[in-house]
């Protein structure tokens, strides 16, 4: 993200601080989900069966998700949305939860190369499939051209919708889309920005499209 581009993130991070201080209070609430970090990424042929079986919570099912090019063998409650699985189980928190009802687009990720809303999918539906999140697009040191363009065009204010906007924008590059701004706006209408950074978002996308 742009901030990290210029300076190192503080240690401990805000997220790890919140997770530590909030864990006791949250313990009773998150029963339906496995705690973050409980399912560490494992290679497909890694024999971590013992570690996995310890986490064989009643009602959970085993799945394999290939996330950002890495295999993750997980056990999830069937109710776990792909969004919650990514954030809470795999600890990839770049994908954001906005409305959780398919109305805002903040949770947009790619499944098998196509953009979808991770809040309206169960993780079990994607067993064996390829998931790409914002973390898989680029790094602060080597940003995806779309991330670079959002940074250059200041295509955000609070940043909460940004990962969903960028995931949508990257997918749009491969979709049928007319050349003008109106076509881009139409195809980006599923991503809401409460700060109203739309003009700069469209400019960023058009810059990447015109360079390609």
């Amino acid at each position: 993200m742009p901030d990290n581009h210029q300076s190192e993130p503080p240690k401990p991070s805000r997220r790890s601080f919140l997770l530590t201080t909030g864990s006791t209070a949250a313990a009773g609430v998150v029963g339906a989900y496995l705690p973050a970090g409980a399912n560490n990424p494992v290679e497909r042929n890694d024999s971590s069966a013992a570690a996995t079986s310890e986490l064989n919570v009643e009602g959970t099912v085993p799945i394999l998700l290939r996330i950002n090019g890495k295999d993750h063998q997980l056990r999830v409650d069937p109710r776990t949305t792909l969004l919650d699985c990514l954030r809470e189980t795999v600890d990839l928190t770049g994908t954001k939860k906005g409305c959780d009802h398919g109305q805002c687009g903040a949770c947009t990720v790619h499944v098998n190369g196509r953009r979808v809303l991770s809040c309206l999918n169960f993780a079990v539906m994607h067993d064996g499939e390829e998931i790409t999140t914002i973390e898989g697009l680029g790094t602060p040191e080597a940003m995806h051209p779309m991330q670079e363009a959002f940074y250059t065009h200041d295509a955000y204010q609070c940043g909460y919708c940004t990962s969903g906007q960028i995931m949508s924008a990257v997918a749009l590059l491969k979709e049928p889309c007319g050349p003008d701004d109106a076509a881009v706006k139409e195809l980006m209408s599923g991503n809401i920005c409460r700060c109203g950074a739309y003009a700069n978002i469209v400019a960023a996308i058009q810059q990447v499209r015109n360079r390609a």
Partner: protein
């Protein structure tokens, strides 16, 4: 969300056998087929839908678009809305369908939503979606607060004293105008249902929305051969320019020869309790010159039996103008 068992059947027969154990295929079904999830998972989060078992049909071989032997098109149940909208033959020969799909939802949702799922899309009536409220569709006999409440977006055609919920689909409006056929495989065999007969009017059983019985699986939808030289338009009017349900929409498929309309198929969206085919508007157009007077008569005929609710009288005029303009564009394109 209530717990459920997630089942991924290896074949169609297994899917049907599991679903056949449900008490109903309508509101309150304890077994549901899972397609794109865009309606069902949303409603499960709201506890409006509480299935005990979900049968994931996404990996069954129901995702093909194929030409039929008579030159029509067969669209598999799990074909994604975006794939259907961008399919070359659909864009070329059934463009009203492509237009309707692309004016619905968002790019992400169109990538997820399936053909059969779109047929089974549920109403966006706020009372249906809120389990704290009464709703005859969700809980038969509990009442319809929409009739005296917030009903600006609800139905003006096909409503009953028990339910005034609007069918929200755009795709289905185009399918109605294209005279599609729904193909169903059930525990007792397969059958075909004309599109106009698939959705039910609410009457005094608003919890029954379609003809589906337990175990019935929509396998595909077929379109008749394209009508040569037909003009096709889908016009959608809404509160926002994009990513919004219709206040009124019109699907038009017509042919015109020397200034005279020789054949017309008209369906309306956003105004009816089901995708609303209008034989009255079709009759008012057929054999008539393509003139403003003809368009006006078709619009009047389509809305003749409209009954407004307390907040949506404007929809009658809006729907009339929608029909008029859609036909106007079709005849001049």
């Amino acid at each position: 969300m209530h717990t459920f068992e997630f089942i991924r059947p290896t074949d169609q027969a297994g899917a049907i056998a599991t679903a056949a154990q449900s008490k109903t295929a309508q509101q309150g079904a304890d077994v549901r087929f899972l397609g794109g999830g865009t309606t069902l998972i949303d409603l499960m989060k709201l506890n409006v839908e509480t299935p005990a078992r979900l049968v994931d049909i996404n990996r069954l071989p129901l995702d093909k678009i194929e030409e039929t032997s008579d030159g029509g098109l067969s669209i598999g149940a799990t074909v994604r809305n975006s794939d259907l909208a961008h399919y070359a033959k659909v864009q070329r020969e059934y463009s009203v369908l492509s237009q309707a799909i692309l004016q619905g939802a968002s790019a992400q949702i169109r990538n997820m939503a399936t053909t059969a799922g779109n047929l089974l899309q549920r109403t966006r009536c706020v009372y249906f979606r809120d389990t704290a409220m009464a709703c005859n569709k969700r809980e038969p006999g509990s009442g319809c607060p929409a009739i005296t409440g917030h009903n600006r977006t609800l139905a003006i055609l096909g409503a009953s004293e028990h339910c005034i919920a609007t069918n929200p689909s755009d795709m289905c409006v185009a399918l109605a105008a294209l005279e599609a056929t729904v193909h169903i495989q059930g525990p007792k065999g397969s059958r075909e249902v004309a599109f106009g007969d698939f959705h039910l009017l609410p009457g005094d059983t608003p919890h029954r929305e379609t003809v589906l019985e337990p175990g019935d699986l929509i396998t595909h939808v077929t379109l008749p051969p394209p009508i040569a030289g037909s003009k096709q338009v889908y016009l959608k009017l809404r509160d926002r320019a994009s990513y919004e349900f219709a206040l009124a929409s019109a699907a038009v498929v017509l042919t015109i020869e020397s200034g005279k309309i020789t054949r017309a198929r008209i369906a309306l969206g956003g105004v009816g309790t089901k995708p609303w085919r209008s034989p009255e508007a079709e009759a008012a157009l057929t054999g008539k010159p393509a003139s403003e007077e003809t368009f006006r008569q078709a619009a009047e005929a389509a809305l003749r039996h409209a009954k407004p609710q307390s907040e949506n009288k404007f929809k009658i005029e809006l729907a009339k103008r929608c029909v008029m303009h859609a036909v106007r564009v079709a005849t001049t394109s």
